[in-house]
C-alpha cells in the first residue's frame, strides 16, 4: 500500500480538501442567510439540508474527479507508475490504491452532510426524525456508490488521455446522470424514437441518488424493500465502470 500512502499524504499536504469540508460543513449555515429562510423561519432547516447535500455533490464532481484525474495523469506521466511496476505493483493494483486514497477523502463528505442534516436540520416531530436519519443514511450510501466508480473512471481516462479528458468524462457523466437525462426526455418524442429511447434507458440515472428534493419536502426514506433495487442498479453501473477503468488505466506513458 505504498502508493496509497504516498497519494494520501500528497493530497493531505495539498490541503484543498479543506475547501470541500468547509463547503459541506460550514457553508450551508452561511448560505441560509441568502435564502428566504430569513423571511420565513420555517424554511431555515430545509435550506441547510438542501445546501449541505448540494455542496457534497458539487465537491465530488469538482474536487473529487479533478483530483482523481490529476493523480491518474501524473502517475502515468511522472514515472511514479513505472517505478511501482518495477517493484511488482501491477497497474490494476495501482489504480485501486489511487482510487482508495481519493475515496478516503470523499467518503467523509456524505457523512458530514448527513450529520449536518441530522444535528442541525432535523424535523421537530419525533417520528419524522427517525425517518430523517434513515433518509440521510440511505443517501450517504447511494452517494458513495455513485461517486466511487466515477473516481476510478476519471483516474483511468486521465492516465491514458490526459487530465482534462478524465475530469470532463466523469464530471460530464455525473451531471448528465443527475440532470441531463431528465432534459433528454423533453428533447423529442422519446416513445417514437427507438435510438433516443434506448439511449435514455441505458443512461446512468444518477438522479435517484440526489436527495435534495426528498429532504426539502420531507418525503420520507426510500422504502426498505425497494432500496436493494437501487443498490443493485448502482452496483451494476459500478461493476461496468470498474471493468472499463481497469481496461483503460495504464501505469506508464508509452512513447
Amino acid at each position: 500500500m505504498r502508493l496509497f500512502r504516498l497519494t494520501t499524504a500528497t493530497l493531505f499536504r495539498r490541503k484543498s480538501w479543506v475547501i470541500c469540508a468547509f463547503a459541506v460543513g460550514v457553508l450551508p449555515f452561511l448560505l441560509q442567510q441568502i435564502s428566504t429562510g430569513t423571511e420565513n423561519p420555517a424554511l431555515l432547516k430545509p435550506a441547510i439540508a438542501q445546501a449541505t447535500w448540494a455542496m457534497a455533490l458539487l465537491s465530488a464532481v469538482f474536487w473529487g474527479f479533478y483530483t482523481a484525474a490529476k493523480q491518474g495523469e501524473s502517475n502515468a506521466r511522472s514515472g511514479v507508475g513505472e517505478y511501482f511496476m518495477t517493484t511488482g505493483v501491477s497497474p490494476t493494483r495501482q489504480l485501486f490504491e489511487i482510487w482508495l486514497s481519493i475515496f478516503t477523502f470523499l467518503a467523509p463528505l456524505p457523512l458530514i452532510a448527513a450529520g449536518v442534516c441530522v444535528f442541525a436540520a432535523s424535523p421537530s416531530m419525533p417520528d419524522e426524525r427517525s425517518m430523517w436519519i434513515a433518509t440521510n443514511l440511505q443517501y450517504a450510501v447511494l452517494y458513495l456508490l455513485v461517486m466511487a466508480p466515477l473516481v476510478a473512471v476519471a483516474a483511468a481516462i486521465a492516465s491514458r488521455f490526459g487530465g482534462i479528458c478524465g475530469f470532463l468524462t466523469s464530471g460530464g457523466l455525473a451531471l448528465y446522470g443527475l440532470y441531463g437525462v431528465g432534459y433528454l426526455r423533453y428533447l423529442g418524442d422519446l416513445q417514437g424514437n427507438p435510438v433516443l429511447k434506448w439511449l435514455w434507458a441505458f443512461s446512468p440515472h444518477y438522479h435517484f441518488a440526489d436527495p435534495t428534493e426528498r429532504l426539502r419536502y420531507k418525503l420520507g426514506a426510500i422504502a426498505w424493500d425497494k432500496f436493494p433495487l437501487l443498490l443493485a442498479y448502482f452496483g451494476g453501473i459500478l461493476l461496468v465502470y470498474a471493468a472499463l477503468s481497469r481496461l483503460i488505466f495504464r501505469a506508464r506513458a508509452t512513447a
Partner: protein
Amino acid sequence: MKLRNITVTSLLALSGLGLWTYGSAKLAGGGDFNYRPNPLGIKMSPYGQVIALAVQGGIDSDWHGTDTSDLACTACGHEHGAPASGSCPEAGGKGPLAWLAKVERAATEKTNVAPRTPGHKFYLRRQVEDKLRLAWELDPSNYANYNSYHLFLTEPQVGTRPIITEKVIELSRLTIRYCLSQDSDPRAALTAASAASNILELMFLHKENYTREQMREQLAVLDQALARTHELTQRWNEEGNFERLSEVRVQDMQQRLEFITKMRDVCERTLQRLSGPDSSGL
C-alpha cells in the same frame, strides 16, 4: 494482457451489465425514470425563491425593451417622465454601480433609429415569457411571478404562444396545489387565492364549457385559500414574522389581499347572477 485478466474484466463487465439492465428494467417499469429535472433541487427551494425575486429585475428591463413609446427614459428605459425630472434612480448616480450601469447601457443601447422590427419585438416578448416561466418554476408561490405569467398566457397581445384555456387552468391548479401545501407562509396562500380567482374568471369567460357546480367548487377553493391566508397571517402576527419583511413587501401583501377579497365578492355576485333564473342575458 493475460487471459486471466481478460476473463476477470469481462466477468465484471457482464455481471455489471446484467445488474444494470435488471435495475433499469425494474425502475423504468415502476415509472421512476419519469422525473422533472431540478438541478441541485433549486426550483421551489428557499434559494429558488430568492432567485425568483431577482429574476423580476431582468424581466422588467426586457419588458421595457419591447416598449416603443416616447415617454421612456433614455437612462433606464422605464416610463417615469423626462430624464431630467430627477425621478430616474439610474440617471446621474455616482460610484461603481452607476458606472457599471453606464457601461451596460453603452453595450446594449439601440443606436439604429429605425423602429424595432415586429420580429425583434416578438423575440423580446418571448424572452420575457420564458423568463416568467422560469420564475414561476423557481417559486410558484410568488404572487407577482405567477400572475405575470398568467397574464402572458391569457393575453394574446403580449403572449407569444397561443395556449388553450384548459392549459392555463392547469397551471393555476398546479399553483394552488403547491401553494396550499406550504403551511408556513401567508403569501403562498394568497397566491393560491389569486390563482383560484383567475380560474373563476376564465370559467366565467367560457361559461358555456363549465357547469355552475364547477364554478361553485372553485369559489370554495378560493374561500379556503383566503381562510388559510387569514389564519397564517394571524400566526405570523403572533410570532412577529412580519417584522422580518420590509415595509413595502408587507404593504404589497395587504393591497393584494384587499384586491383578492374584492375579487372574491365580485365572483360570488357573478355566480349568483349566472345561477339565477334569467342567466342567459349575461
